[in-house]
């Protein structure tokens, strides 16, 4: 029997959904599954029992909590699709909305991280879901397989003064040779999960953390990282560098 899927969006940009539809394997995905609820492309209005629910977006409103719980009730497995659903995402920057990842409200069975999820990783997880295989992710940080690893600084004593290199400093068409942290540019590789094939780094731009953290204890990872690097005063006062994609949890 074909696995039955539900695909819903909460507060989001629909980028994970558009990534899904443009995956190489999307036609195959349609063929090998039965999609029973997917408002983006289907007119169905009622949520019914399914094997797997993919949930895109974070929770920003009361009504979304009800919808999410309804989905949980009907689904054997629920996956957080994208960094908003998994960790809060870009709206973690919001100063007016109290947004939360879906795991704050329901038990989830897995995540497909990324903003948007990298196509290769996304496609592999979908196939594994269809085939009912293990979908666990690498628990390594981005630095573990960084293309600049050979030139990585072991002791970080350079002052970090920038979050972006200046445009004229990026040499087009050539791989950068030095670790960003060595060049005084903040790179979130040390606290971000691998799986994106280091696309930004290969293009000469540092990691911004869109894949989200490895360990659940994101806040202590940041504190740990901060104790190892020297941030300039300007950056210390700059908001939303570390929680641009992942909302830190405050437990009391």
């Amino acid at each position: 029997m074909k696995p039955r899927f539900i695909i819903i969006s909460l507060t989001s940009c629909s980028g994970c959904i558009s990534t899904l539809i443009s995956l190489d394997i999307f036609p195959q995905f349609l063929e090998r599954t039965k999609i029973i609820y997917f408002p983006f492309i289907l007119d169905v209005e009622k949520i019914e029992d399914c094997d797997i629910a993919l949930v895109e977006g974070c929770i920003s409103e009361e009504s979304e909590i009800n919808l999410l719980k309804e989905v949980r009730k009907h689904a054997k497995k629920v996956y957080a699709l994208g960094t908003c659903a998994a960790f809060g995402g870009i709206l973690s920057l919001s100063n007016s909305k109290d947004i939360k990842p879906i795991s704050d409200f329901i038990q989830i069975d897995g995540i497909i991280p990324g903003c948007p999820p990298p196509s290769k990783l996304f496609g592999n997880i979908l196939i594994r879901l269809i085939e009912n295989k293990d979908t666990s992710l690498s628990e390594k940080v981005l630095c573990a397989n960084c293309p600049l690893r050979e030139n990585m600084e072991k002791i970080l004593d350079t002052d970090i003064i920038k979050i972006n290199p200046n445009p004229e400093e990026i040499i087009l068409g050539e791989e950068n040779s030095d670790c960003f942290l060595k060049r005084g540019i903040l790179c979130l590789g040390p606290i971000t999960r691998e799986g994106c094939e280091s696309k930004c780094i290969k293009l000469g731009l540092p990691c911004e953390g869109c894949m989200g953290p490895v360990s659940k204890d994101f806040t202590s990872n940041i504190i740990n990282f901060l104790s190892l690097v020297k941030l300039s005063k300007d950056l210390i006062n700059y908001e939303g560098i570390f929680y641009r994609f992942s909302k830190p949890k405050l437990r009391r």
Binding site: C13, S14, T19, I41, E61, S94, N164, Y238
Partner: protein, 437 residues
């Protein structure tokens, strides 16, 4: 006693979360509103950010119009420094906009508008899921999926990834295409051209002899969009508002606020130009403003559709195919430019010239404008983002209210009204994620 009834219906097959609110007063429809559920507050959390940090944040406004959002934003940031973007970067930005448009338009065409068109013209009443569409026409389905993939691959090659591009930063595009990239992209555009010719022929064959129903007719509107000497160009130009051949006005982007401005609560856009007029942006406006596509095939294709089509919002479905076809060929021309893989150094963004910056672009759904203000420390103190669908909402509401009233009087069946309204809304191709920025 007055009896008031509010009926809310959730929109399906649209991008994002929208609802329709129908207000019944003594069993007569008094008003219908297309509503966007929530505002995510991008304009407020941009405050306090550094200039070169903005484009990648605003990309996250929309997973369909990400390239337009980022590039409009980069243009606005560059405006602070009065720098000229390298030609190579401008060409690459064009390619990124083309890829985005191909992906966005083909998704809308296939999943959202095609099922409606089959129903509106009474060709089939039950082709509503991708499963049914595949069975109905497997060739068309394959060609559409290929187009979506092509759009995606163009973004991957020149943007670093398919959504929320990496390479687009203030100053230019941080990517030097290799010969292999260029030849891959050429193959993709050539394939897209073949697919689009097939789909366009099919569209003409099935629909051009039919007359679109009156309820989809556009009322008298003011068309707005970028004008680049009458050519079709979504990257740059002056802003034009056109009512008809005789009556139009043109102005530079820096003077936009003499014509329109954000609502005080940042919800919606007010035109001081003429308060009684409705404004439309998107494919239809681009078509009205373009004087010459300089492409014989396109002129022939357009010739198949008479006045009854040209006044209908349903015509935008055909225009979306034409726009993809046009940009596919523009893409092929750009790929032949020698400057495309010539080593370039991006300009430095250190010497600030202005305290405000404006960037405008034609997104797939119409004119998109970003306007930022900074304080003495070069930190954003105010941001205004003008979303195409925000401009279109008043005309969408007018059209659905008028038709709902007439249909409900005639049939008394609120379910038919609900269904029909949704097809009208989808024909306007609203981008709800963008509106809910």
């Amino acid at each position: 006693m007055k009896r008031l009834l509010k009926i809310v219906d959730v929109c399906t097959r649209v991008e994002g979360h929208g609802t329709v609110k129908i207000l019944l007063q003594n069993d007569e429809i008094s008003n219908v509103d297309f509503e966007i559920q929530s505002n995510r507050g991008f304009e407020s959390f941009l405050i306090g950010k550094k200039l070169n940090d903005i484009p990648k944040i605003v990309s996250r406004i929309c997973g369909l119009c990400y390239a337009s959002q980022t590039i409009a934003s980069c243009k606005a940031v560059e405006n602070f420094f009065n720098i000229s973007t390298p030609e190579q970067s401008i060409l690459l930005r064009h390619l990124l906009l083309f890829g985005e448009l191909i992906k966005s338009h083909s998704m809308h065409f296939y999943f959202q508008s095609l099922p409606d068109l089959f129903q509106i013209f009474d060709i089939s009443q039950k082709l509503f899921s991708p499963y049914e569409l595949i069975r109905y026409d497997s060739q068309l389905t394959t060609y559409i999926y290929e187009l979506i993939k092509i759009g995606n691959e163009i973004e991957k090659i020149f943007g670093g990834r398919s959504v929320h591009l990496i390479t687009s930063i203030p100053g230019g595009i941080v990517y030097l295409p290799s010969r292999k990239d260029i030849s891959m992209a050429r193959k993709y555009f050539q394939k897209a051209k073949i697919n689009l010719e097939f789909i366009i022929d099919k569209f003409i064959g099935v629909f051009s002899n039919r007359v679109p129903p009156e309820e989809y007719d556009l009322p008298n509107v003011m068309y707005m969009g970028l004008n680049n000497f009458g050519n079709f160009n979504r990257y740059s130009g002056t802003l034009k508002i056109k009512e008809n051949v005789k009556n139009s006005i043109e102005f530079e982007e820096k003077n936009y606020s003499s014509y329109f401005e954000k609502d005080i609560n940042l919800r919606g856009i007010d035109f001081h130009f003429d308060k009684n007029k409705r404004f439309l942006v998107g494919p239809i406006s681009r078509y009205k403003i373009t004087e010459n596509y300089e492409n014989d095939n396109i002129n022939t294709y357009l010739g198949y559709f008479d006045k009854s089509w040209q006044n209908s919002v349903l015509f935008s479905n055909f225009l979306r195919l034409i726009e993809m076809y046009f940009e596919t060929q523009q893409g092929l021309i750009i790929l032949e430019e020698p400057v495309l893989n010539r080593r370039t150094i991006l300009p430095s963004l250190t010497s600030l010239k202005n305290s405000e910056g404006i960037g405008v672009i034609e997104a797939p759904r119409g004119m998109l404008l970003h306007h930022y203000y900074i304080n003495d420390n070069e930190i954003i103190k105010k941001a205004k983002i003008f979303i195409p669908t925000e401009i279109n909402i008043p005309i969408i509401n007018d059209t659905i209210t008028k038709y709902a009233q007439e249909l409900y009087n005639r049939t008394g069946d609120i379910n038919i009204v609900k269904k029909k309204i949704q097809t009208i809304i989808r024909a306007f191709d609203p981008c709800i994620s963008c509106v809910a920025h």
